[in-house]
Amino acid sequence: MKVVIIGASFAGIAAALEVRKHHTDANIVLLEKQATLAYIPNGLHLYWGNQIDDLNAARFITEEQLRQHTIEYYLGATVQNINTDQKIIAYDYLEQEELVAYDKLIIAAGSRQLSEKIDGSAQDSVLKYKRYGEAQAALSKVKESQHVTIIGGGQVGVEAADLLTKQQKKITLIESMDYVLFKYLDEDMIQPLEQKMIENGIDLRLGQTVSSIDMESNHNLTVRLGDDSVISDAVIMSVNVRPNLPFLDTRIKRHTDQTIAVDRYLRTSVEDVFAVGDCIQLSGPDEDMVYIPLINNAVRTGIVAAANLIEPVLEFKGSLRTIGTSIFGYYIASTGMTEAESLFTNHTIETHRQKVPLTSLPHSDTVILKWVYDATTHVLLGAQMISKANMLEKINTLALAIQTKQTLEDLQQTDYFFHPSYSQMMTTTNLVSWMGERVDKDES
């Protein structure tokens, strides 16, 4: 059996390794456009944060490891088109057009940071750094820049703002929503962070949308938003990513948003063709189909597709959009549905926001937790946390609780250790009204 995988990033590589696990004799071919393998998309942030001292160290797997698993791979191989009738793929490799036939095809071509609404955003001087080459270019450009404008206040944008502020750069951050990180946090959770950003001198432009970016004669860039504009030395695009799939044949059905339509087994509309990672929608926190481009999802979908190559045996369980990060001195984590997002669902929810000490020690750090749960069944639907202490791992407990449909009452029955230096009378991941201090008033 010949399995061809387009794209050798998280989804593609996870799929390749998993196919090998299931099919020791399969012929596995990875086609990757980039010249280097397995760069971690926020490698630049690791570098800026002094966690690695060479960008090249930001790799999640080596070529050697692929070889050990006898996975054939081609770097610098760009797929041009696929013919699902004849099961043939055409790709450019070393300036030649090559053809490869497949028995099973997995599309893992991921996404790009690109905007079709912002004029001038495609020019090279507007920095994107998901790929290694882009990251190298961004690194040197930012190094020589004093004032950097960041477009997009999602996880990538806010992290970049934090790291660059630490390098004494002047930062303007533009976000079209009223507050940053809006996909993960409700507005009532964001206040301490935004406060801190402003204290750090970030020029925060909220509720504004960029219309164009122009290069001036002195190589400065002018970012236009409404009637206003910002001139800076460099511009970083940290807007939402989107799939880019010009090579697909028309038999493979897509959603309106251009993602590839797949079923629960990650099969596309064409037999023997699967799609994974950033080029598909997933069932989200409310089990409706949404686009959640995250590494964890890429890896898990890769694994599930590999399991279903011969016959559908494993359903993809969906995504809770679990994230965790550290920005401006705060650890921030979120999983599942936010209160704002619940308006898109049929759930009647209740929320509870409370400030809880993390340990039993006198000067314990605290965490502000927000719980989002079904008003009648009390099934947990979402959770958000913000704290000065690193409590990020706790979000995984809550994610598991949501995935397994635990109620608030179930959670109180979970078995956990007690040690006064590390825990409290009740675990933090428990909503117990008498434990902390309630910080919201929207529930009687």
Binding site: S115, M177, V241, T256, D257, Q281, V290
Partner: protein
Amino acid sequence: MKVEHFLEKNEVREITIFNQLVLNHGVLSYKDMLDHLAVSKASLDNDLESIAARMSDFDKQVYIQYDGQNIELIMGDHISLQHIYRLYLDQSIKIKIINYLFKHQKFSITQLTLKLAISESSLFRKIRDLNSHLKEFGIKIRNGQLHGEELQIRYFYFHFYSYIEDKTTLFTVHADSQMIQTMQSLENFLKVTILPENRERLSTWLFISKSRITIKNQKHKYLREKMKPYVKDPLYHKIQVMILRYFSRYSIEVDEGEAMLHFVFLLAFPILTEDDFHEYTLIRDRHAPVAALDMYIAETIINHFKFRKLPYMLEREIYYHLTHIHTQLYFFQGDIERFEYRYILAKEKQIVGDNLVAFAREIIGTSIKRFRIEAGDNNSLFKMGVFKYINLLLLLSFKMAKVLQIGIDLKMDELYKETLSELLILKMSPIQGIHIERYEPNKEYDLILTNDKTSDLSGYEGARVYVLSEVLSSFDLANIQRIIQELNT
């Protein structure tokens, strides 16, 4: 633009034949029909033949009979003119072109000639013809695509799928759960209720928007300009947040333009309930163009009718309608005049009289001037505007008309007095807004009808008195009607 513009000349004539027959109780002489259509005998004969062929679809439910002298329309109880319009529209090539454009966003000439089974030259002619009418919407078909401001394109499609093309072509998709969910989300976000009668309109719009969302290079220049006074509008802000959040769930990029489109739509058509709209009027900027014009026109109307003040609920209703009319005038270009519109208008004119029509024309003139929009002579948006104002004025006068108390005080023998009074009451009963009875002393009346020329008129406590010349004469009746109108304004 008119619905006819989607049809060929002879088809329009055939429809006119149906219309004429309906207007004339189903029968018209051959000669009158010739005069009305101003065509040759040969062409009328052709039309009748063509109608006969087309109506075979209806399986004898509809047909036109011609006995050499009269033309007669025979129509089953379950068939209306609407069905007949539908039949004609369904086979219109121009409609098929628009449909194709909507579904595929783009066409090549070869594709389309094949699909429609027509020649290249006739396709070009149809497109040229369509373009001449799309002009008033500020849009045009070029290189197999619809070009123009996105607002205008969606607005045109909205008319097209609401009034021209059979709605059911979109309906299967409408019913899908995603649409229901979207509507529910919209209610949640804006904290409003969408009533069933408004849902259809909204889902048509949402469906159009959904299919346009991924179109590249949407133009919003004009819209952005017009939206300047609204960037701080609270409803707009809510919509913007909703749109950003909604699309952040997909791999779809949107800018403010998308939120602006929905804001305009929500205010230009009856989507919100009157209550929800009223809540909005309390927080909107009164100086923004639409609100300011609403107020100005409302005052103009109140002054015109010499009303002192409108009842609270009626005032709310009037503002609700005015905002729709004015939002359309302020943001949109073009409109489609439907078949029905002219007949309703003609009928209404008969009822309301020329005065009201002239007044409606005057207000639209004011509105156009205040919005500084260029008024082309044949602009359907303005024509429909007049039509809407007329209806608003009618609504107002119906609701404000107080019931006039009329007393009949005939001086004659009891027997005649009783019968004549009853006959007079019977004769006047079709007149709206009056209560008429035999005069009773000590009751208050607005108008007294009497035949006594000598009696002391001051005895009627200030009521207006009309002395009948000849009880039951048409002369008197006309005079009484005039007085009633005077008393009503």
